[in-house]
Amino acid sequence: MHPILSNRGRLLGYLLLWVTFGALIAGVIAVTGEATLRWAEIFAIPLAVVMGLQCLPCWYLVRGLAPADVPTWRLMGTWLGTGLVLLTLWLAVATLWLRVLKYANLNPNVDPGTLIPLLVFAGSVGVLIAILGLYSAAASERSRDAERRSLQLRTLAREAEMSFLRRQLDPHFLFNSLNSVAALIGSDAVAARRMCLLMADFFRKSLKFGAQQTIALADELTLIDTFLAIEEVRFGNRLRRGLDVSEEALTMLVPALLLQPLVENAVHHGIAHLLSGGEIKVSAKVRGSLLDIVVQNSCDPDRPISRSTGLGLANVRGRVESMYGTRARMDVENEPETFKVLLALPATPVEAPSARSDR
């Protein structure tokens, strides 16, 4: 959008500026004593307005030639050429205008020879001012744009964070856990209290880790441990868990809350469908430059083929791909009685020990 042509008020203001400029030239002509002030005004003000109109299309050049993006020689060359063309055109118009005034018998015997140098000077100043003005308009437009974009980005990031947390917290997990608490209050108040504390611990950790990009595997495992402790209260001995993680693997960085949804899937699509339950096992070890992580669970061999674990897995895969690209891989092994997710991430150690000092 053209900043001046797109708004009638702005166009009027712009032309008024040029009228003022014309009056200034008229004043100079009158002072030199070449002509009366009245003639000079009739001569110079329309010419100044013409100059203003001539300079309007320069906006498109200004937008295309940002000083930061274009080499200086090209910038200078383009503007010198443009300036010369504008000035020549304008001088031609001025000569024509002078003739018109002469035929209209308004000619007070002005000598064009003395007027031309003055007009060249005034024209150059006018073109220069117009170009600089348009550049400053472009700069303010760009900064407004940048501000709007950064606001948009911040909003997007915030939304992503919120929806991430929402995905993390399955409401049915909350309802079922609260139902367990309600049941325990009648029969075993100590266990009920423990369950409340486990839930508080789980939500607090989810919020804390969810705000971080990567965390130590050890931290992710404490979150999973709390989650499974809660599910154990619900499922009793139907839920069995195994852990096989090397000391070295514990200190590696993993994307925050990457494994938790896999373990949640393992409960909801695996253990919950087995009459006598099954095992969820998390193993991890460092192999060369890679961190191998396996989350596996027992599952019902008669489960329908199309059972939709798809969405949760797609989310995990999407995060792994966006963070590591081709440096990481994720495989799914869907065997009759076992479901396995295998991750190979770049092994990045937690650098400063202070990263885990709060534990």
Partner: protein, 248 residues
């Protein structure tokens, strides 16, 4: 009122039992930890009301109702999920309670059950046909078929079913060389199955298209479909057209 509690979570059962213990006119007939136990107990024990969880391993609450058919007692569903409520009332459930269960809501539901038992809903006669339809999760095709075989219950994953044949007033479901009988009409079952997977090739046959080995013309306007296990089924002209629209 004799109540049977069905839930796969021990604590959820204990909670309901505790709430029911305080109500004078209620005896707990039993507690079932899964759908199979629930079907067995509902038939063997005298009971008037089921408090039934929906999501349980192997057999869902709706499948339990389907298997019990006309012998099913009145039912109150108890679940953490609110998305099954419409299905629940389609099969004339007395009430639908969300976990964690509010004691007051439970009392209201029990009151409704008392009223229902004194004045049985005449519409419930039609229930069995609708129960089967409601067993399908909302917006999805049926993923498994449940079958009563005397005291036993079979759960067939839908991809194991080869074909279904209509005989008199029941169905024969062929799956992996075994044949199971089920009290249902072919049209009812057909409506619940993914039409891209199961095609009505004949007035009395519904076929899993993945089992087709080859098709041979038999007579004018009739064909024979050979299955991968060597057996064959008749196919009518309209069945042939339906199969073509699916396979094309």
């Amino acid at each position: 009122m004799r109540v049977l509690i069905v839930d796969d979570e021990t604590l959820a059962r204990a909670y309901l039992a505790e709430q029911l213990a305080e109500v004078a006119d209620i005896q707990i007939a039993g507690q079932a930890a899964n759908g199979f136990e629930a079907v067995k107990m509902a038939e063997e024990l005298p009971c008037d009301l089921l408090l039934l969880d929906v999501q349980m391993p192997k057999l869902s609450g709706f499948e339990v109702m389907e298997l019990l058919g006309e012998r099913a007692p009145a039912v109150i569903f108890v679940t953490a999920h609110d998305e099954f409520a419409v299905q629940a009332f389609q099969i004339h459930a007395v009430d639908y309670l969300l976990k964690p269960v509010e004691p007051l809501r439970l009392q209201q539901a029990l009151q409704r059950a008392r009223e229902r038992l004194q004045d049985p809903d005449p519409d419930r006669v039609a229930v069995s046909a609708q129960v089967a339809l409601a067993a399908r999760p909302p917006g999805q095709w049926l993923e498994r078929v449940v079958i009563r075989d005397g005291a036993r219950v079979h759960v067939l994953a839908i991809h194991t079913v080869d074909f279904v044949e209509a005989e008199d007033d029941y169905l024969v479901i062929a799956a992996g060389g075994k044949r199971h009988r089920k009290q249902q009409t072919l049209a009812q079952l057909e409506a619940q199955l993914d039409p891209a997977r199961f095609v009505r090739i004949h007035r009395s046959f519904l076929l899993n298209v993945e089992r087709i080995a080859r098709i041979e013309p038999y007579a004018k306007d009739s064909w024979q479909v050979f299955l991968s296990d060597g057996s064959h089924l008749p196919m009518s002209r309209s069945g042939y057209q339906r199969l073509r629209t699916v396979l094309d």
